[in-house]
């Protein structure tokens, strides 16, 4: 095997980014083996049985009935030691951020994270808060790669056949040091962002809490809901149920009107499906402009009050 894809269980089904990781691994070329871990390993494996894979390994164990960084990093380490893949591929998810660096350190294999595309020069990732891209490479014999959402399209997974094999691991109680409780969701607000038709989205460019009303005022004039970027939520300026992005909501409104949002990948993954994107940003190079239909270079604090007036007339 050349490439090992480590799959992720998203409440009993394959995580979307695991499917994209399989598509990415197939694009890299060579033979691809997938690894499913935990109590749902069998059903995750069967979701992939009609795709072109050398093998799908399943690992089940009492100590793997729920996710732990200790348990998962140990399993992946044992599989890599036994199968010696050149490349280990995962989706760039919260879970892989949590345990893949452990595998990297255990085996001294570099982990190139958060890749958005492949280029002739290497793996492309965003740097400097998405203001620039960088190509990253490694001369190491083995490497771990994680692919950001939408780096690859899961519809391009190559179909074919594969076999499912169980893989035995050795784990003892002392190797899993953590105990975890059941995952839970917190009470959501009464705003249905994901189904909102129009959104005015406020970013750190609004500068101060006292200015946030501008977003709400504009939203009221056009009949939109207000959403926000993470830093605005973190500052306590806007309620957390309004957050858009990888750790917030996924939205796809008819209009996404962003005010002082830079367009970092973790924000963009939550809104790039919007039909029309208008962005106001004072930085002409702001990454949000790349996916905008209308890019307004200017100061939100100057433009928005005037726009509200103009729309009222």
């Amino acid at each position: 095997m050349n490439i090992l894809v480590v799959l992720e269980d998203n409440q009993g089904s394959l995580h979307r980014l695991s499917r994209e990781a399989v598509a990415g691994a197939q694009k890299l070329g060579g033979s691809v083996t997938a690894l499913a871990i935990g109590k749902n390993a069998g059903s995750l494996a069967s979701e992939l049985s009609s795709y072109e894979l050398e093998e799908i390994l399943t690992v089940e164990h009492d100590l793997l009935s729920s996710y732990s960084a200790d348990g998962y990093s140990e399993v992946v380490t044992q599989v890599i030691q036994s199968k010696s893949p050149k490349t280990i591929v995962v989706g760039h998810t919260y879970q892989t951020r949590d345990f893949m660096p452990r595998v990297s350190a255990k085996l001294d294999i570099p982990f190139i994270p958060d890749i958005i595309s492949l280029s002739d020069e290497g793996f492309v990732k965003q740097v400097l808060n998405a203001k620039l891209n960088a190509s990253v490479s490694s001369e190491s014999d083995q490497m771990i790669l994680s692919f950001q959402s939408a780096a690859f399209n899961d519809e391009e997974m190559i179909t074919g056949s594969s076999t499912i094999t169980t893989f035995d691991v050795e784990l003892d109680v002392s190797s899993v040091r953590s105990t975890s409780e059941e995952p839970f969701q917190e009470a959501a607000g009464d705003v249905d962002l994901e189904n909102a038709e129009l959104l005015v989205s406020v970013g750190r460019g609004i500068e101060k809490e006292e200015n946030v009303h501008l977003a709400f005022d504009l939203a009221e004039v056009i009949g939109a809901e207000v959403s926000a970027s993470r830093p605005v939520v973190d500052s306590g300026w806007v309620d957390s149920f309004r957050q858009v992005g990888s750790s917030g909501h996924n939205v796809a409104p008819k209009l996404y009107f962003s005010l002082g949002v830079s367009g970092a990948i973790q924000h963009v993954v939550g809104m790039k499906g919007s039909k029309n994107i208008i962005a106001i940003n004072k930085d002409p190079e702001a990454p949000i402009f790349e996916l905008s239909d209308y890019a307004i270079v200017g100061d939100v604090l100057e433009i928005v009050p005037k726009l509200i007036e103009a729309l009222k007339n």
């Binding site: 190509s135 969701q185 208008i278 103009a310």
Partner: protein, 256 residues
Amino acid sequence: MKIAVLVKQVPGSESVLPINEGQSWINEDPVTFVMNPPDNFALEEALLIKERKGEGEVVVVSMGPNRVQKVIREGLAKGGDRGIHIEEDEPIETDPLLIAKRFAAVLKDENFDLVLTGLQSDDTGMGQTGVLLGEILGMPTATLAIETDIQGESIRLKRELESGWFQWVQFPLPASVSIQSGLNTPRYPSLKGIMGAKKKEIKTVLGSELDASSRSQSIDKVFVSQTSKQTEVIDGDVDVAVQRIAEILRSEIKVV
């Protein structure tokens, strides 16, 4: 309770970022540097844990060229007890494994109960240093903690999962935890804190003397990404821009 908190110095979000001549990174001359914003939350959490316990030590650790002493001082002004500066000649080291090995070499003999890091660095965005470091030091690790609770010899953490889910995990100390942004409100240094920080110790050690492993990955080139989308750029006079946006909303997207 002995806590190490890793704070990185990174270009501020408002700073200009000119690409350097060799296109290998940015030209740092005109750049304004700040404490990596996520690390502010890790630092605050370290100070809060110490205050809740009523005893302990918070050690502020940073790796980079001489300029990074500024963020260490900032941490000391906010209440950190002492600093460690791992001096690194390169303007930026981009290999997380090498970075973690160097941190580990400095921290291993100090016997910290807890190592706190930020969510991710704003410059290289590797999102892995704290976990690598924990593994090298033989500690349990967790990421994206949004609440911490020290319970005797162990730590209980509320972790953020994807799509609005959360989970509590617990494991024994010593441990390495990366902190999710927004879990607390970072304090500002007081005048007294700023004055006091001048007298606090910052130990400097040379990175290359800590671990001489070769680099396992590197950033070779930085560039501006190319867009494929048709974008109408509206630049210039504010009143003209306002009229144009109003027209777009009324007649092109038809929302008003």
